[in-house]
Structure formats: structure tokens, C-alpha cells
């Protein structure tokens, strides 16, 4: 047991962990003011444990970031009896529900660190992190995220979802293709609020020097996945069902870009020995569908996206001069002048843009946070083109377009390597 991990856990939480003892299954819920949804989610989790793991020693751990709506009390107050009528099953072991307040404000990094430290203390074999906002959560999700670890010896289970074709565009246009091209593994949801992991992987990540970077651990879930890939751990995907759209509706683009792109670019620096030697990509073992696409009509203000792209290219010229190559900037400026009908941000140019941003991030040509923020207006232009290309596309056509983008990222990987090495 490492003293350093113990030291940041509160005495009260340590006492609760000691009273729980060793466990086989650990289900964690990082929360912050989730009183509206948390009760139903805990019941679903309990039902999942009763159904799929009745003989295992299990614990539900709530890591709370200073809720003021009584979320931790609700987690502790949900009785196992509430879940029984639905499952008609009985747990053969005591199912503990414990809670700790890790800070007075939410910080995903501290929450995950708390969970990992608790998992290590309890010697949990299989752990899962669940989102406290998932309105679509089913008891089966517990099994889908834990079984591959508990029974088949996998170390990380990432989810796949049924999504609308225009949802998660930062993932389909940047995170998935770039992670796939660089790390060589086709993980659809490298950044997800739900994932399962082995105690072994949790302990290894806990010991990594990623906790004191001053970012409150934004995007730490992505760092966790990338660390698992870089560490050659056994990874698989599990199809959960429909991704809850309400959960992310309020998400703003700039914080999302800062979390995802900032974390990815930062990881590239430390993982260079890993990704620089990888060629091509392989799909991980997947239970259920690799992905599913919903096609229902969606009204989107495309005009505003294009306007914000054009404004961004014009206004941020001085910033882009530090980040992009002259040829890329010239091409961006020429497409920024195009009208709505002719506007097209080609995949090849988008990939070059992202790779040049990654290389500039590594070289710190200006403040790294500023580099990441400067990508947001350009991403809007890419989104405009993606929406236009796939407006009337079928699920297969959307998938073909995403695949083509992924292959472009893979094809231009030598360009990134060249940029990277030129900065050494």
C-alpha cells in the first residue's frame, strides 16, 4: 500500500473503506449536484450488481465534488431493497454504498484519483466508473463494462454507443481518427464518462505522474485510455446502447476542445516512443455493435458555424501565423472567403491543420492553452463541411466518410512525424 495515495483520502473515507474490506467489484460514481438523477442511477447499478454479480463482494463508491443538493446523502440512502422487486434476486454478500467529498468544487482528476486509490486499498479486481447524468443507463451496462474484465482478463473496457450522426463531432472528426492513426487502435470512445478497468491498470495509472499538472485533471479519462494503450494493456469495447443526448447538450465547444485536444496533444509528448513506431491500425475486440448511427432530422445553424470560422480565420491571423505553416494558412484564408454554397474544408487540409497544431503545441510556440483554443474556430469550419457532406447521408455513407477521414489521418502521419522531429 502506498502512503502517498492514502494521504489525500480523508480519515472518514479511510474508515469507511476499512469497514468495507476487500471487494471483487467496485462501482464508482463521481458526482456534483446530481440529486435529480442519482437515486435512479444508484438503483439501476444495484439492480445490475444483483443480476450479474450476486456472489461477488461489491461496493458503490461516490466521489463527490462539493454537492449542495444532498447528492451524497441520496447515494448512501438508496436501499438495496429498492432494487430487489425489479430484479427479484438477492445479493449473497453485503452491498456497501459509501461516499466521500474529495473537494469543495468538482475536479474530474481528483475524483478519478480518489476512486483509483480506493480501488487499490480495497484490492478490487474489476472497477467501473459510471456517469451520474446518464438518463439511459440500464442494469446491463454494469455487466457489459465489468464482465470482460472480471471473466476474460481485459484491463480496459470502453463503451460504444448508438449516436445521432451529428452528435459527438469532436470525437468523430478529431479524437477517434487521430487516436486511431497515432496509437494504432480503433477505439471509438476514448473519452467517455463510463468505462470499466482492472485493478491492475488502476494501480499502474495511480502511480503515474499525471495528477499534479495544475489542470484539475480535465480530460483525465482520455489520459487513462491513452495510458492503457501506451502500456499495451488488454483493451476491448462494449456496446451499451443509446448515448444520452441531454447529458451533453449544455457542453460548450471551447471547454470540450481544451479538455480533449489539450489532453491528447499533451499525451503525444510523453507517448512519442509509442506512437512514433506504430503503423496502420487494428480494431479492438468488441462486444455488440462497433457503433450505431441515428438518422433522425436535426436542425442546425450551419450559417453561424461558417461565419464563426471565417471570423476566426480573419481575426486570429497573427495567432495562426505562429502555429500554422504559411501554405496551410493561405489555404484556410482562401476557403474562409468562400460563400456558403462553395464552402468546403477538405479532410486533407483539416488533418494537416490538426497535425500542425499538435507540433506547435509540442514546441510551445505560444501559450499551449492559447494554441488549443485557437483550434475551436477552425473546428467549426470542419463541422460545417461534415454537416454538408452528410446532410442526406445514410448510416453507411456517414461511416464511409468517417473512415475516409481516419485513413487521411493515417496517411498523413509521416507529416506529423516530420514536423515533430523538426522541433527536436
Amino acid at each position: 500500500m502506498k502512503l502517498v495515495e492514502e494521504s489525500f483520502l480523508t480519515d472518514d473515507f479511510l474508515r469507511q473503506l476499512i469497514s468495507v474490506g476487500e471487494v471483487d467489484i467496485l462501482v464508482s460514481l463521481p458526482t456534483h449536484n446530481n440529486a435529480k438523477t442519482i437515486g435512479a442511477i444508484v438503483q439501476t447499478i444495484q439492480s445490475g450488481i444483483l443480476n450479474w454479480f450476486p456472489r461477488e463482494r461489491a461496493v458503490i463508491i461516490n466521489a463527490d465534488g462539493g454537492s449542495r443538493d444532498g447528492t451524497p446523502e441520496l447515494v448512501r440512502g438508496v436501499s438495496i431493497d429498492d432494487a430487489r422487486p425489479a430484479s427479484n434476486l438477492y445479493a449473497l454478500r453485503t452491498l456497501h454504498s459509501i461516499s466521500t467529498k474529495y473537494a469543495s468544487s468538482p475536479a474530474s482528476g481528483v475524483a478519478l484519483r480518489t476512486i483509483l486509490a480506493a480501488a487499490e486499498l480495497l484490492r478490487a479486481k474489476a472497477c467501473v466508473v459510471m456517469s451520474p447524468e446518464s438518463a439511459n443507463i440500464e442494469p446491463e451496462w454494469i455487466s457489459k463494462l465489468l464482465r470482460p474484465i472480471y471473466d476474460d482478463g481485459f484491463d480496459l473496457v470502453t463503451p460504444t454507443y448508438r449516436r445521432h450522426k451529428f452528435e459527438g463531432l469532436l470525437i468523430t472528426n478529431l479524437l477517434y481518427p487521430m487516436t486511431r492513426a497515432l496509437y494504432g487502435l480503433r477505439i471509438r470512445e476514448a473519452y467517455s464518462p463510463e468505462f470499466g478497468f482492472s485493478g491492475r491498470l488502476g494501480s499502474q495509472f495511480l502511480g503515474q505522474n499525471v495528477w499534479n499538472d495544475g489542470t484539475d485533471g480535465a480530460g483525465v479519462e482520455l489520459r487513462f485510455t491513452l495510458a492503457a494503450i501506451a502500456g499495451r494493456y488488454r483493451i476491448c469495447q462494449s456496446f451499451l446502447g443509446e448515448k444520452d443526448r441531454i447529458e451533453r447538450r449544455a457542453a460548450d465547444l471551447v471547454p470540450a476542445v481544451r479538455q480533449i485536444v489539450g489532453t491528447l496533444f499533451s499525451a503525444l509528448e510523453s507517448d512519442f516512443p509509442v506512437w512514433s513506431t506504430v503503423a496502420g491500425s487494428q480494431p479492438p475486440p468488441t462486444t455488440g455493435a462497433d457503433h450505431e448511427v441515428l438518422l433522425e432530422p436535426l436542425r442546425v445553424n450551419r450559417k453561424r458555424l461558417r461565419e464563426m470560422f471565417s471570423t476566426g480565420v480573419a481575426e486570429l491571423e497573427s495567432v495562426f501565423q505562429s502555429i500554422l505553416s504559411p501554405s496551410t494558412l493561405t489555404e484556410l484564408q482562401s476557403i474562409a472567403r468562400l460563400g456558403e454554397e462553395e464552402f468546403h474544408y477538405p479532410a486533407e487540409l483539416w488533418v494537416r491543420t490538426v497535425y500542425e497544431f499538435a507540433a506547435s503545441y509540442r514546441k510551445s510556440v505560444i501559450s499551449r492553452d492559447h494554441i488549443v483554443q485557437a483550434l475551436a474556430p477552425l473546428f467549426r469550419g470542419r463541422v460545417f463541411t461534415f454537416l454538408t457532406e452528410n446532410r442526406n447521408a445514410s448510416a453507411d455513407e456517414v461511416e464511409n466518410n468517417v473512415e475516409a477521414l481516419c485513413l487521411e489521418f493515417e496517411r498523413l502521419k509521416p507529416y506529423l512525424l516530420q514536423l515533430w522531429k523538426s522541433g527536436e
Partner: protein, 234 residues
């Protein structure tokens, strides 16, 4: 009479010779100090230039926006400028030290004042450099935030912030150098007040339509767009 003149002349010549003999070693010391100072200053300049290149000082200066100012003024790079500045300050220091050895009344006081002024000059330069760095950082942050929030005229906002910070920094630098403190204070007060008044008038009068459009765009269109689906990036 003739003897007296010869005696006075020889005495005068003797005194000149004695004075010169007395002054010559000091002059030699001064010349040695000036030459030795030049050698030391040159070595310091070379070492400093290497260190600055090693720590990529030009990059830092570029980020601070100082490089752009230097290029516009057709001046050499920041590394070269700083190295040359240190060289001249060091050499001038040695020359003044040599001059003080000459023992010329009045000059010694000026030399002492120069040496007392040096630390303030360094502090002022440091304040100027970090001030420019801060101005560049915060103006870029404001520009990015304004562009991403779709605020009208982001470059004007960014430039206004940059100007404000630079004016503020310059006022501190002048105060540190002790140059026309009262004038600087008054000038700063007037400039700052004028800027604020100008902004108030611009927003209140000239920007009336802009403000109306901005508010309409912000609130009226917001209501209209409520019917449109939002795209989640994640």
C-alpha cells in the same frame, strides 16, 4: 628681473611637469581600466549572447511582442540588443571608473550617480520586458475568448487591452527611472481618463447601433434559435 622671469618660468614648468607626472599614472590607470573593461565587457557580451541563444530568448521576446517592435524599428534581434546593451553598460561602467580615478572634481559625483542609477535601469528594463510579455499574453487571451464567444470586433478589444497594459507598464517604468515623475503621473492620469471617457462615449453614443445589434443578436436571435437543435461536441 630676467632671473626672476626665468625662475618663475622654470617653476611653472616644473609644476606642470610635476602635475603631469602626477596625472600620467592616473591616465594610464584609466586607459588600462578602459581597455580591460572593454575586454571584460566583450567577454560578458559573448557569454550572455550564448546563454540567451541557449534559452531561446528570441522566442520569448517574440511571444512578448518585443521582437515585432524591434523589427519595425529596423533593430537587431532581442538577444543581440540585450547583449549589446550589457556590453555598453559594462564598458561605460569601467570607463567611468577610470574617469573617477583621474580625480577631476565634479566628475566623481556624476560617476557615483551613474552607478546608483544602474540598478534602477535594470529593474525598469525587467518591468518593461515582463510588462510586454503580460500585454501580449492577455491581449491574445482576450482575442481568443472574444472570437470563440462571437463577440463583435475582437481585435479592437484585444488591442485596447494591450494598449492599456502597455501604458500602465510604461508609467511604472518611468516612475522607476525617476524620469519626470509628476509629468508621467499626470500624463498617465489624463491618458487613462481620456481612454475611459472615449470608450464610454464610443459605447454610449457611437456604438449605440452596435450595442443594439449586439443585444438583439444575443437575446432576440437566441429565442429564435431555441427551436434549433444544439450539436454536442462530445
Amino acid at each position: 628681473m630676467r632671473e626672476m622671469i626665468i625662475s618663475e618660468l622654470s617653476q611653472a614648468l616644473h609644476e606642470v611637469a610635476r602635475g603631469f607626472a602626477h596625472f600620467l599614472p592616473r591616465l594610464i590607470v584609466m586607459l588600462i581600466l578602459a581597455f580591460g573593461g572593454w575586454v571584460i565587457a566583450y567577454v560578458v557580451k559573448a557569454v550572455l549572447r550564448s546563454i540567451l541563444r541557449l534559452i531561446k530568448f528570441d522566442k520569448l521576446s517574440e511571444n512578448a511582442g518585443a521582437s515585432q517592435l524591434l523589427t519595425n524599428a529596423a533593430l537587431p534581434s532581442a538577444t543581440e540588443m540585450l547583449s549589446r546593451f550589457v556590453f555598453w553598460v559594462a564598458w561605460l561602467g569601467f570607463i567611468l571608473l577610470g574617469v573617477s580615478v583621474l580625480g577631476i572634481p565634479g566628475l566623481q559625483e556624476q560617476v557615483a550617480r551613474f552607478f546608483l542609477f544602474l540598478p534602477r535601469l535594470f529593474v525598469a528594463l525587467l518591468i518593461l520586458f515582463f510588462g510586454l510579455l503580460a500585454a501580449s499574453f492577455f491581449s491574445r487571451a482576450a482575442l481568443l475568448a472574444a472570437v470563440n464567444a462571437n463577440v463583435p470586433s475582437p481585435r479592437v478589444l484585444s488591442l485596447a487591452l494591450r494598449t492599456l497594459i502597455i501604458v500602465f507598464v510604461l508609467s511604472i517604468v518611468f516612475e522607476e527611472l525617476g524620469l519626470a515623475e509628476q509629468t508621467t503621473l499626470v500624463a498617465f492620469g489624463i491618458a487613462f481618463g481620456a481612454l475611459m471617457l472615449g470608450l464610454a462615449i464610443a459605447f454610449g453614443m457611437g456604438g449605440r447601433d452596435l450595442a443594439r445589434r449586439f443585444l438583439e443578436k444575443r437575446f432576440v436571435r437566441g429565442k429564435k434559435e431555441e427551436n434549433e437543435d444544439e450539436l454536442s461536441p462530445l
